[in-house]
């Protein structure tokens, strides 16, 4: 009996060191950052600016939910930005050039995204090509297709529904923020409360144990890559609505922001660990950082350096942290 109580104390200490500091560390970082910008600039701390941050963040944050799943299963997806670009282009082409019903167009765009995800997932799961390689190749292919379809020029997109999705407001809050909220809540529920979520953690934590436990691990991997591709599709639709055009190079460099948000949010590159809530905080941190630096008129090139350092610092701390709990 005595040994149990000793154990539980040790357990609790380890848990607090490992996960709590990792999760809340970013949260504290976010608050400190907001405090800093509030002091430095009187334009920062205002409702309109916060809504602005939320709207800007939503486009990458939606994808970050999918990236959380991907990184939990020890994968990576570098094709996200390219899929955003293609989705926007297809949306504009379907609606403007082909005169398609906008709702149908959106459904079709998401279906195309899902097929891209299926191809990636199946290649990773069954042919066992490293996801880094296949998604790098897919990034080129998909981006190339987007350019070929449009001959490199933006396609004009003016449609009431697309307008609402991209730049509309409801009760004073931008529409994309609602979409983001729905995806975070549903995505979090799936990961933490549904069978598939458990399987994702198990596959990422130890794929051999998962297979031995009778889980169809290949299927889990395929579903995860389909999900992230569909999230990219949604993000692409929103972005094209916001830009009122399908631009073939939209979404360039998104993989950077998305992966950064996920890692900042405490998802482990070793797999098996991570939360959707953490990713939300990570995405907001990246959003606040950009917004604040813009308000302070920091040179965009310097901004890149600062962002890079923030990611470096976060990963550095999390590695140190996990090593500490490993040694116990």
């Amino acid at each position: 009996m005595k040994s149990i109580s000793v154990n539980s104390k040790k357990d609790r200490q380890l848990e607090s060191l490992g996960t709590v500091l990792q999760k809340w560390g970013v949260f504290i970082g976010l608050i400190l950052l907001m405090l800093f910008f509030s002091i430095k600039s009187r334009h920062f701390f205002s409702i309109p600016n916060f809504l602005n941050i939320a709207r800007q963040t939503s486009i990458t944050a939606i994808i970050a939910v999918g990236m959380t799943y991907v990184i939990i299963i020890n994968g990576i997806d570098l094709s996200v930005g390219a899929i955003v670009g293609l989705a926007g282009v297809l949306c504009a082409v379907f609606i403007t050039n082909l005169g398609m019903n906008p709702l149908l167009a959106i459904v079709l765009v998401l279906a195309v995204s899902a097929v891209i995800g299926l191809i990636i997932g199946a290649t990773v799961a069954y042919i066992k090509i490293p996801p880094f390689i296949i998604t790098l190749a897919m990034q080129q292919i998909v981006r190339g297709v987007a350019f070929v379809i449009t001959s490199g020029y933006p396609v004009y997109l003016k449609n009431p529904l697309m307008n609402t999705i991209g730049r509309g407001f409801f009760l004073g809050i931008p529409t994309p923020v609602y979409i983001m909220a729905v995806i975070f809540i549903a995505g979090g529920f799936m990961l933490h409360r549904m069978r598939l979520g458990r399987y994702i953690y198990a596959v990422g934590g130890n794929i051999q144990t998962a297979r031995l436990s009778g889980i169809k691990v290949e299927r889990v991997i395929v579903i995860v890559y389909i999900l992230i591709a569909v999230f990219c599709g949604i993000s692409g639709v929103i972005l094209s609505g916001r830009l009122s055009s399908g631009t073939p190079n939209a979404g360039t460099g998104f993989e950077m922001d998305v992966i950064a948000a996920t890692i900042l949010g405490g998802t482990s590159f070793a797999g098996g660990e991570g939360t959707v809530f953490g990713t939300l905080i990570g995405a907001l941190l990246m959003g606040v950082l950009s917004n604040g630096l813009n308000i302070m008129n920091v040179d965009p090139y310097i901004q890149m350096i600062i962002k890079g350092f923030v990611i470096f610092l976060a990963v550095f701390l999390s590695v140190i942290n996990s090593r500490k709990s490993e040694e116990k």
Binding site: S8, R195, L196, A202, N206, L212
Partner: protein, 500 residues
């Protein structure tokens, strides 16, 4: 008269792990310039003793005297520096590199590599050791397993150690390759080197060694010159006759046939294995390491493929078996290595417990997990198996080995299987937890569960099983009923020497 000198002396070496006294007051000496064989059952302490010698483990008691002085190696590098080298069973070659690149890895003589020069030198060394058939410019990954094993040995020999430890060096060698190995060993001996030769192959041991030491259950049994032994006497020394009262009184509850395996074969792993399992029966699998028991069970559960043969469950033939299919058909698999494929260490005890059973605790369509049912199931298992942990939401990696093993057991019991495969279910756990697991296995069999139990501890099998199958070199060597089984015969059969 020639004074006998000893390169290595063990004085009262003791080393324990949770649940086992791996080495218990081991003392003997190894003469300089001899081939000294070390034999014993699985878990007799051979590997532990060699790890102590090589500096990988630090003994808790006793001392190692090397070349007349007491040594305490803190790490493998210290032992290497003193001229002790070990060739391990698992190979340490870089498959993508060429033979000569591997041979000089870490001891390259030039900053800008001289490929030609290296390969000429490598060829000279290989030829010198009788390995001219290995082309130094070939990629190691393209060599046969036997060739790799020989290459590894040649690489170690070329480093010119005074003491060379070989752990099962002939395990994948053909007979002509064994001859090359023996010539190499004889030559090293002539050069005054000392060799410790660990092997399960007693014929080879008797052929090549000068002196033999037998270990049993962590204790030193005998060290004597080769000529004083025969295969039979060696086995007699190795047999472990300890029989504790830790096993439940076996009440047999054997019912109808539930699993039939016929002529199952996988090239290089196991061949023509046939057996049947009945409801409520505990069927034991004995054999030496590498006899193919784990591989056979993995194939039955669908984890590894097999080339030919049939598996029948409740009389119905099962094709294309996979773990998920096996699970659906009522089979569970408690694997050998908790960390490798038993648990998801970075997840909670709860998640691990329900992992194979989530379908029962979630809606079929969307898979929303019913947390109340799930928690109740986990708590019930905790109670039933007496698993000790503070919080089921904490990571399972913080649990003790015995409790982790019970979590693995509980995750399969939750799905109420009809057949449970258990591969070394009590390895590395303490005596108390072992006894509890024995009791659980016994009780489950009374509830009509059929158990396939692999164990390297023969007394465990003798204490628990209704029947014991002994595997030798990939085949089923002999089957014993509970009444006719004894420790001596099990070991004889495991060495392929049983004569009825």
């Amino acid at each position: 008269m020639n004074e006998t000198t000893y390169i290595l002396e063990y004085h009262g070496i003791t080393k324990g792990f949770p649940g086992v006294q791996a080495l218990d007051d081991v003392s003997f000496k190894i003469e300089t310039g001899t081939v000294h064989a070390l034999v014993g059952e699985n878990g007799a302490g051979k590997s532990t003793l060699m790890k102590v010698t090589g500096g990988a483990y630090i003994p808790e008691g006793g001392e190692v005297v090397y070349k007349g002085e007491k040594v305490s190696f803190l790490q493998p590098a210290d032992a290497l520096q003193k001229g002790i080298r070990t060739v391990y069973q698992e190979l340490n070659l870089v498959e993508k590199l060429k033979v000569h690149e591997n041979m000089f890895l870490g001891s390259e003589e030039h900053v800008v590599l001289r490929d030609k020069e290296e390969s000429v030198k490598a060829r000279a060394i290989l030829t010198d050791y009788g390995l001219e058939k290995i082309d130094p410019r070939r990629q190691v990954g393209r060599l046969s397993i036997g060739e790799r094993q020989l290459l590894e040995i040649a690489k170690s020999a070329w480093a010119n150690p005074d003491l060379l430890i070989m752990d099962e060096p002939s395990s994948s060698l053909s007979s002509s390759e064994i001859e090359i190995l023996f010539n190499l060993i004889k030559r090293l001996r002539k050069e005054g080197k000392t060799i410790i030769y660990i092997s399960h192959k007693l014929t080879e041991v008797l052929e090549i060694s000068d002196n033999i030491t037998v270990l049993r259950d962590g204790k030193h049994v005998i060290t004597a010159p080769n000529k004083e032994f025969t295969e039979e006497t060696l086995i007699t020394h190795m047999v472990n006759r300890k029989m504790g009262k830790q096993y439940p009184e076996r009440v047999s509850n054997v019912g109808e046939v539930v699993l039939e395996v016929e002529n199952l074969t996988r090239a290089g792993k196991f061949k023509d294995c046939s057996f049947t399992l009945h409801r409520g029966e505990i069927l034991g699998f004995s054999g030496l390491m590498g006899a193919g028991r784990t591989e056979l069970m993995r194939a039955v559960f669908g984890l590894d493929p097999y080339d030919s043969g049939t598996i029948r469950l409740r009389g119905k033939r099962v094709n294309h078996i996979s773990p998920s299919k096996a699970k659906d058909l009522g089979m569970g698999f408690v694997s050998e290595d908790r960390r490798l494929d038993g648990l998801v260490l970075c997840r909670s005890t709860k998640e691990n417990t329900v992992l194979p059973n989530l379908l029962s605790y979630s809606k079929r369509l969307f898979g929303v997990i019913n947390r109340k049912q799930e928690n109740e199931a986990v708590d019930a298992q905790k109670e039933a198996l007496n698993i000790k942990y503070a919080n089921k939401d904490h990571k399972v990696k913080y649990l003790s080995g015995g409790n982790q093993q019970k979590v693995i057991l509980s995750k399969w019991l939750l799905m109420e299987p009809e057949i449970l495969i258990m591969d070394e279910p009590t390895r590395g756990i303490d005596v108390g937890a072992k006894k509890e697991i024995y009791d659980i296995i016994h009780e489950l069999s009374l509830e009509d569960l059929g158990v396939l139990l692999i164990s390297s501890e023969n007394d465990e099998l003798l204490g628990l099983c209704d029947r014991i199958i002994v595997m030798h070199d990939g085949s089923i060597e002999k089957e014993f009923a509970r009444e006719e089984a004894n420790a001596d015969d099990l070991l004889l059969a495991a060495f392929g020497r049983f004569k009825s």
